[in-house]
């Protein structure tokens, strides 16, 4: 639609005057800037930040070395070295666990894949470094993050319906929820 302008409008440059008025009003609009290092946004619980490994409340590592996170990872940034716990047949653990944060795409599939909720994502996003090799997180670093940002990780798992409450978390420690175990027991009893 073409609006024809009258001669008076052209002479008075009304369009420009109107535009200038709009700009002038914006002089008094509060800026939308976040002064980032000083002011930080409140992140939602579902925020996908740095990955962390978690422990149970009594300090035992949750990870059972099943390699499912490694299989689920689309960018192949996870490397799990898994072996049997000596003296305890059928129980496995991961003596080494690496996540290459330079490759990670923060999809959260590894957390979904984990059967024992050992992996979770935190709200940590300020882990930039001068040395790129520092971004190759090993087991120690991942457990450190898990301890520091335990509340974030818990909130992430709850928000993503991975783990509803602490009681259910304890059940996974024995590889099967109580409900499954009790169902199995019932026919024999």
């Amino acid at each position: 639609m073409k609006r024809s302008r009258s001669l008076i409008e052209k002479i008075l440059m009304l369009e420009i005057v109107r535009a200038m008025w709009v700009v002038f009003r914006h002089l008094f609009v509060k800026g939308v800037t976040f002064q980032y290092p000083h002011v930080k946004r409140a992140l939602p619980d579902t925020h996908r930040g740095a990955l962390a490994l978690l422990r149970y409340d009594d300090g035992v590592e949750r990870c059972v070395g099943c390699d499912l996170c490694e299989a689920a990872c689309p960018s192949r940034c996870i490397k799990v070295v898994s072996e049997q716990v000596p003296d305890q047949p059928l129980v496995r653990w991961a003596p080494e666990f690496y996540i290459d944060m330079t490759k990670c795409v923060f999809c959260g599939f590894c957390v979904e894949a984990c059967p024992v909720n050992a992996l979770a994502m935190t709200k940590l996003y300020e882990y930039s470094t001068e040395n790129k090799r520092d971004l190759y997180f090993d087991k120690k670093k991942l457990y450190e993050i898990g301890e520091t940002y335990f509340a974030d990780a818990k909130a992430y798992l709850v928000a993503h319906r991975q783990e509803q409450a602490d009681e259910t978390a304890i059940q996974y420690r024995y590889k099967f929820p109580f409900s499954v175990l009790t169902e199995k027991k019932e026919p024999s009893a």
Partner: protein
């Protein structure tokens, strides 16, 4: 002999004070512009260096001062070095005839005036030096041996020449009314309240002057010589460090200079708008009016996009110059019958 020495001291001290004040204002004009532009775009502008970014101009100056000074291998070194000076000096030299205030000050038996000198062809002097600045831009663009610089320089020359005509013609009406080329006399002719200011009889000339002055100082929406999206940085593409700072300073000094002239010619210089408000020092009125114009420049920059080159030329030659000529004609005829 003693009189001579006294005269020299007075002149040198006045020059020093004017230079330092102007350069400080130039530095803080960049801050002013960035802040206002930020607010207009719903941002905050500089916030980090000092309280609300107040030390930003100093940080910028230091940064430019310590930058490496690069001269392109294929450039004409003499002219390349000369060009920034040729731009900055005319921009600063114009302040010599600007009357900032009315009252003289007596210190140690010496009389200081609020302007360096009052020559009887003040406005002509400023116009003459403003045109020399165009040489700096043109030569800088040519000496860089870079196609973007050359195009920027050429555009600048064409633009400055076309808009200087309408700028000069818009001033003529005021000169007819004031009957003098001296900036002090022009200011004094507008005394006695805002209804004696020349903006009222010369409103058309005022608008023409404002638009031409924006084009003359290469500001948006007429910043074709340094059009970022087309010419990288126009005529100062190859300049870095202090040489770049010279161009930058010159641009802002020119902005202040044309604002000063607009204040003197159309808004009555140091005069208060009403007699009741004349308890505020004249120099503050002057600075306030200048900042009004500077704010207007930034406002225009925040509003309008850049003109196309042919639009710019057409507007200059087909609209501004005929209007300015018509304004002179009407002013002269009316003056002939009124003052006759």
């Amino acid at each position: 002999m003693i009189e001579m020495a006294q005269y020299l001291i007075v002149v040198l001290v006045t020059i020093g004070i004017v230079m330092v004040t102007v350069l400080l204002h130039v530095a803080y004009l960049t801050y002013f512009e960035r802040k206002i532009l930020g607010w207009m775009q719903d941002r905050m502008g500089p916030m980090e260096v000092g309280y609300h970014g107040l030390l930003q101009p100093i940080a910028d100056g230091l940064k430019l001062f310590f930058k490496e000074d690069i001269v392109p291998a294929q450039a004409n070194k003499v002219i390349f070095t000369l060009a920034p000076i040729l731009v900055l000096v005319p921009a600063l030299i114009g302040f010599a005839v600007i009357p900032f205030g009315r009252d003289t000050i007596q210190i140690f038996g010496l009389t200081f005036r609020p302007y360096v000198t009052d020559i009887n062809i003040g406005i002509l002097y400023i116009l003459a030096f403003a045109s020399i600045g165009a040489y700096g831009v043109l030569l800088g663009g040519w000496a860089s041996n870079n196609k973007y610089s050359l195009l920027g320089g050429l555009r600048s020359a064409a633009q400055v020449i076309s808009y200087e005509l309408s700028l000069g013609l818009s001033i003529v009406g005021v000169l007819l009314l004031a009957g003098s080329l001296s900036l002090v006399k022009i200011t004094e002719a507008q005394g006695g309240g805002m209804f004696h200011w020349f903006i009222i009889p010369q409103f058309v000339a005022f608008v023409i002057y404002l638009i031409s002055a924006i084009a003359e100082t290469n500001r948006l929406p007429f910043d074709l010589p340094e059009a970022e999206s087309e010419l990288v940085a126009g005529f100062f593409t190859e300049y870095s460090g202090m040489r770049f700072a010279f161009f930058f300073l010159a641009e802002y000094a020119n902005m202040i200079l044309v604002s000063c002239i607009a204040t003197i010619l159309f808004l009555g210089g140091w005069h208060a708008p009403f007699e009741a408000l004349s308890f505020i020092p004249p120099i503050l009125w002057f600075v306030g009016k200048v900042y009004l114009f500077l704010f207007f420049y930034i406002w225009i920059r925040g509003t309008l996009p850049r003109l196309r080159y042919d639009q710019l030329m057409m507007f200059g030659w087909k609209v501004m110059i005929p209007l300015a000529l018509a304004n002179i004609l009407v002013t002269s005829v009316v003056l002939y019958f009124v003052k006759g």
